[in-house]
């Protein structure tokens, strides 16, 4: 998952970024003003945008309206110091998905971020089941047929991302976009190596093919498909 933080207060943006990287293990980009924020949001593929309201250059509200006008679908979580009813109503009406009032609780912010990402992808529960594959997004663990599978952070993130969109094909580029922030040197063969490792760990020597490779198109989590065809 990849999150964009639009916040001019450097220390705050940093804290949220570190919390998101350390906690759910998301890739995080930071924009220091509204203009950069709007630009990045339009360019990158973000699973969530954390948006401050009082921003230099373009205000948070304007960024939000601009994004929604251009059809940007990523859920937006607003950080605001004003939690009056009218301003919240205005915020939600102009396209925000949720808000946290400053000073907020970092834990609450994390929970809301995760919930928004889940909802944005049509998943309702933090425990995602695809066939007998269980992805616990809170514990960041994966169980296969009831047995826990030891995964590296990147491998987990790949499974997590795929499990949010089961039975649909996810391209390598898309995986790259959603797993790494701008600070990473990105190569598609890195993904290939991780997927191959992941496949080996999930199969545990068995014959099951959990992750299907569609040549030239991408990957697909196949547990759902197998269930559909007994």
């Amino acid at each position: 998952m990849r999150v964009l933080i639009v916040e001019d207060e450097e220390r705050l943006a940093e804290n949220i970024a570190v919390a998101l990287r350390e906690g759910p293990g998301y890739a995080v980009d930071i924009a220091g003003d509204g203009e950069t924020g709007a630009y990045l949001a339009e360019m990158g593929e973000y699973d969530l945008i954390v948006l401050d309201l009082m921003l230099p250059k373009i205000s948070g509200t304007d960024v939000l309206q601009r994004l929604r006008k251009r059809g940007q679908k990523a859920p937006v979580l607003v950080l605001t110091a004003i939690t009056s009813k009218s301003s919240i109503v205005e915020l939600l009406n102009s396209g925000a998905d949720d808000y946290v009032g400053k000073p907020f609780d970092l834990g609450e912010l994390m929970a809301r971020v995760k919930a928004l990402i889940r909802r944005g992808k049509g998943v309702r529960h933090p425990l995602i089941r695809v066939g007998d594959l269980e992805v616990d997004t809170l514990e960041r663990s994966v169980r296969c047929g009831g047995v826990e599978v030891e995964l590296s952070p990147t491998e987990y993130r790949i499974v997590e991302y795929l499990s949010h969109r089961p039975s649909s094909i996810v391209s390598k580029e898309s995986l790259l976009e959603h797993l790494y922030d701008f600070n990473w040197e990105r190569h598609s063969n890195v993904i290939e190596a991780h997927v191959s490792n992941l496949r080996r760990k999930l199969n545990r020597g068995g014959e099951e093919k959990w992750i299907e490779t569609l040549r030239g198109r991408g990957y697909r989590l196949t547990a759902a498909l197998r269930e559909a065809q007994p």
Partner: protein, 482 residues
């Protein structure tokens, strides 16, 4: 003072004046009426006396001994008379007659008033001639008679009181009508005032917007008040809005500062960390706290500067050169860290009416600003002097300058010219706002001119006096690294 009603005052005044006029008019009218009534009373008396004379004339007796039969004469009750001939013989008299009446009436032909039986009478004496034995050929013998005739003044008084009653009642009705009309007119006239008051009472801290009702502007006297109220409310609303924006911004800044500290601490406790990580985290929290402290400090300074100052405490006189030398000395370490040359140009005897610590804050803020926005190798100059007869000091730098669109906002609270830069320098955008507040509170002014990429010059002018003139400025190089 006891409150009073304008309407009531006006009505009472008008009624009093009218009452006075009415009284005078009634008095005059009654006087005239009395004159008229007396005149007709006298005519009536004369008529009656004449008819009495006629009766004497017509008496049957041809001789001297005429007697009048009172019963035959049809005279109204309450009339008294006596007829005497020339020899003083009484020819006839009414039942109620005495010598006093004759005395009161006298011999003159003009009527007189007198009292009889506790009642007022009016009577006169008529000197007539009785012709005896008159035939067609001879005029007969003339025998003069005197007729004393008097009548009760009761009908006169009745007429007078009638007239008085009429006048009283009509005047009372006029007064009543005036009062009613006045009240209605005044109430109608006062309606715009009431409307204005209604509109004014709708003002609350939630809605300071005030529009005077159009009716108020239609009344010349009220229009002044309505205009005054409107402009006062507009000024108030503007000030209130400014205050709201400030509070709003201050809240945002404070909440953000608290959020940073809170999130830093929560991040630190979110998992087990190494001692080095904790140490670094705590150091960060401390610096975050310092920022919060600085923000609160600045907000308090602003709040204090905004308090209206008492006239009592005359501001102290501060030697600008001394003050700025201290500031320059304090700034020296920062300047050398940033590799900027700090130059101080004093001018002797420039005294300004400003408290020493405020002057220091003012100069320090400007100097720090200049140092922060001047790249290494640059130059910052603190200069004391007199320009166009005005004493003050300047802070000049040859740094990046301020963009024209930002220049008009630099004194706004929480305004950050270039956000990314200001955030790095840790300013909350209050420094220059404080400078302006200090300068203005001292009765001076502050001005900034800038050429982006070349230089920025901040000039502070303060009310003060010049102790001596003609001091040549000399440069003091505090930091000459390059």
């Amino acid at each position: 003072m006891k409150p009073y009603s304008l309407t009531r005052r006006l009505v009472v005044t008008v009624l009093l004046v009218e009452l006075l006029l009415a009284t005078a008019a009634t008095g005059l009218a009654l006087l005239y009426e009395r004159q008229q009534n007396l005149h007709s009373f006298d005519l009536m008396l004369r008529g009656r006396a004449d008819s009495l004379l006629g009766a004497v004339q017509d008496a049957e007796d041809a001789g001297d001994n005429v007697m009048l039969d009172p019963k035959a004469l049809d005279l109204p009750r309450g009339n008294v008379y006596e007829v005497r001939d020339v020899s003083g013989r009484v020819v006839g008299r009414s039942a109620k007659w005495n010598r006093d009446i004759e005395q009161a009436i006298g011999q003159q032909g003009s009527a007189r008033n007198f009292r009889l039986d506790k009642k007022w009478y009016r009577g006169f004496a008529l000197h007539g001639v009785r012709q005896i034995d008159r035939t067609d050929s001879s005029p007969g013998i003339a025998r003069p008679v005197v007729i004393f005739y008097a009548a009760s003044l009761k009908p006169f008084w009745a007429a007078m009181s009638h007239a008085a009653k009429f006048l009283l009642i009509s005047n009372f009705l006029i007064l009543l009508f005036t009062a009613g009309t006045l009240l209605v007119l005044l109430r109608r006239g006062m309606a715009p005032l009431k409307e204005l008051a209604g509109a004014a009472s709708a003002i609350s801290s939630n809605s300071l917007r005030f529009r005077a009702p159009p009716d108020a502007f239609a009344v010349e006297e009220l229009a002044v008040l309505a205009h005054a109220l409107e402009s006062a409310m507009n000024r108030l609303e503007k000030a209130f809005l400014q205050q709201q924006v400030f509070v709003h911004d201050a809240a945002h800044e404070l909440k953000t500062a608290v959020t940073i500290i809170k999130s830093s601490l929560q991040l630190l406790t979110s998992r087990k960390r190494t001692a080095t990580e904790y140490e670094r985290g705590l150091e960060m929290c401390l610096s975050d706290c310092a920022r919060l402290e600085d923000l609160v400090q600045k907000l308090l300074i602003l709040a204090r500067l905004e308090q209206p100052r008492g006239e009592a405490a005359a501001p102290a006189k501060t030697d600008l050169s001394e003050c700025l030398r201290d500031v320059a000395n304090q700034m020296e370490p920062l300047a050398s860290v940033r590799g900027v040359t700090l130059i101080f140009e004093p001018a002797g005897g420039r005294l300004a009416r400003i408290a020493g610590d405020e002057c220091t804050t003012l100069a320090t803020n400007l100097a720090v600003n200049a140092l922060q926005h001047t790249p290494a190798g640059g130059r910052v100059t603190l200069r004391v002097g007199t320009w166009e007869g005005r004493t003050g000091f300047e802070v000049e730098d040859n740094g990046e300058g301020i963009r024209a669109e930002d220049l008009s906002h630099v004194f706004d609270r929480f305004y950050r010219g270039d956000p990314s830069r200001s955030r790095h320098t840790g300013g909350a955008g209050l420094g220059l706002a404080i400078c302006k507040a200090i300068a203005e509170a001292a009765g001076g002014s502050i001005e900034i001119v800038s050429e982006p990429g070349r230089m920025t010059l901040a000039t502070v002018v303060l009310p003060g006096e010049q102790a001596e003139l003609g001091v040549h400025p000399r440069q003091e190089l505090l930091s000459d690294r390059r």
